[in-house]
Symmetry: C2
Subunit: 295 residues, 2 copies
């Protein structure tokens, strides 16, 4: 197999290449003065099994067009198979019409990736499983919670405790996975939306976190409000330290400010989103999945 | 027919609506905090003939995703027919593989617009006719030079003269069209690329422009270098005033600075690119084309 690193995930692609011992393909990319993207393969890929790695963290539209252009070229140049790894799958919010007339952007994504020749898709901790049900090709979500947990294992935690920020099935599963690796108990918070203010209110279960190091395992930090609320509550209840392990640390707008003010001690993200919080790589997760499948 | 204005061309869509007496469709658009686009129709479009208006001037990728989302929704909601008007057709540069392994972005555009259900495409002064040959659906280019010329007719020009900045067939045709409307002669400059510096050198024909008002009719101003060279030369040869009438005034980077320094007296663009130089609308051009067809 040959690995193609998109502009948003060059380092990640390189890590996957090392772990799988599959070579990286030499490519040439640039932006023209008007902002248009240019993409070129500098070696042959016809007849090859290929893996495209391109995460779709903001600016999503730019990274999407890059992905479409890479896919189009790979198929045009007659690669044998195309696996697409999109650690952060943008436009996963709109998986149904909440209001009549809405664009089903998640369905558009599925349609275009399929149409452009992807044979299968892998992503990390997808926002909603329903999004992947829209694909006619095999579409898999993998979880980063195990790798995030490994990071915390090496942090010398004191009497650790794992928390899911909400009670959704996938959130609980992620917390469970992390708790097993850390060797800790886990529990969850409940999220409720105030109908009038739209604010998210969190209620704690009756767990004594006093003096303990707590790890919040979350799939995404966007504005940071939910995580900050949970962290604040944990600190109030006497938690010694509060860590956040998050698959997609988007950290939009004032997120960092809000999280710092909430008393969070450390944010640990993955290279699904390339920023200074990407302390854990999702490369081994994909490498293992590929090994388990048919590399 | 119902007209759908995309975020990049709301005013233009409204003008087309007035000229054709076809109603604008009420839509709701926004950007989520993470930058993702949201699109919703606020009225039914099933069974309707539709016209989507969305120009693709920079930032192209953003406007492209908007267009894809609108198209996907229009088709999903079962409109009867879909005409897409894209005054500035981005990614028209790469219509062939100049180097092995390159992405044929123009072909990707054609493929996706077709796949998403467009029945036909209209654009203004396409960069290269070959780009439109890539479409399996009818794809038309219309020229803005007539409308640009009308603007200059009202400017009280003195002994006007029209110039094409290069000798390409379409450039000459545009100059001819404008010259007819203005009631002037026209000629062209020749463009040569210096092999070593990559710079564009222009050579003038032996036309006496002394004391005359010269109108350069061009399809696009990107970095502004070509137009500035032509303007400089015209001023040097004694032109009284130098105007530029341009279909797509992208005016990237230092373009304005370069053009001002070259002695250009006025830049007149169209609403293909929404900026303060959009003094001419392409709405009547499309309206006439639709009337000539089967509205």
């Amino acid at each position: 197999m040959k690995i193609i690193g998109g502009p948003s995930s060059l380092e990640l692609a390189s890590k996957i290449s090392k772990l799988t011992a599959c070579p990286l393909v030499a490519v040439n990319t640039k932006r023209f003065p008007d902002g248009e993207f240019y993409f070129r393969f500098e070696e042959k890929i016809s007849g090859e099994d290929t893996l495209i790695v391109q995460s779709l963290y903001p600016p999503q539209d730019t990274r999407l067009i890059e992905l479409f252009m890479i896919l189009h070229t790979v198929r045009d140049l007659k690669a044998k198979t195309i696996i697409v790894f999109i650690p952060y799958l943008a436009y996963s919010r709109q998986d149904e019409r909440y209001l009549e007339g809405e664009c089903l952007s998640a369905s558009l994504m599925a349609e275009l990736l399929q149409h452009l020749g992807a044979d299968s898709i892998y992503t990390i901790d997808v926002h909603n499983q329903k999004v992947l049900d829209m694909y006619k090709i095999p579409a898999h979500t993998l979880t980063a919670s195990g790798e995030l947990a490994k990071y915390f294992v090496s942090q010398d935690l004191k009497n650790p405790f794992v928390v899911a920020p909400d009670a959704e099935e996938m959130a609980l599963k992620r917390a469970e996975t992390a708790a097993k690796t850390i060797g800790a108990e886990y529990d969850y918070f409940e999220k409720k939306r105030n109908r009038h203010t739209g604010e998210i209110v969190t209620y704690s279960k009756k767990v004594n976190v006093k003096g303990r190091d707590v790890v919040i395992i979350d799939d995404i930090i966007s504005t940071g409000k939910t995580s900050a609320n949970v962290a604040k509550m944990l600190k109030k209840q006497g938690a010694r330290r509060v860590f956040i392990g998050v698959s997609h640390a988007l950290l939009l707008g004032n997120a960092l400010k809000i999280l710092n003010a909430s008393g969070v001690d450390e944010i640990v993200g993955t290279d699904s989103v390339v920023n200074s919080y990407a302390k854990v790589s999702v490369a081994p997760i994909l490498a293992n999945a590929l090994k388990a499948g048919k590399l």
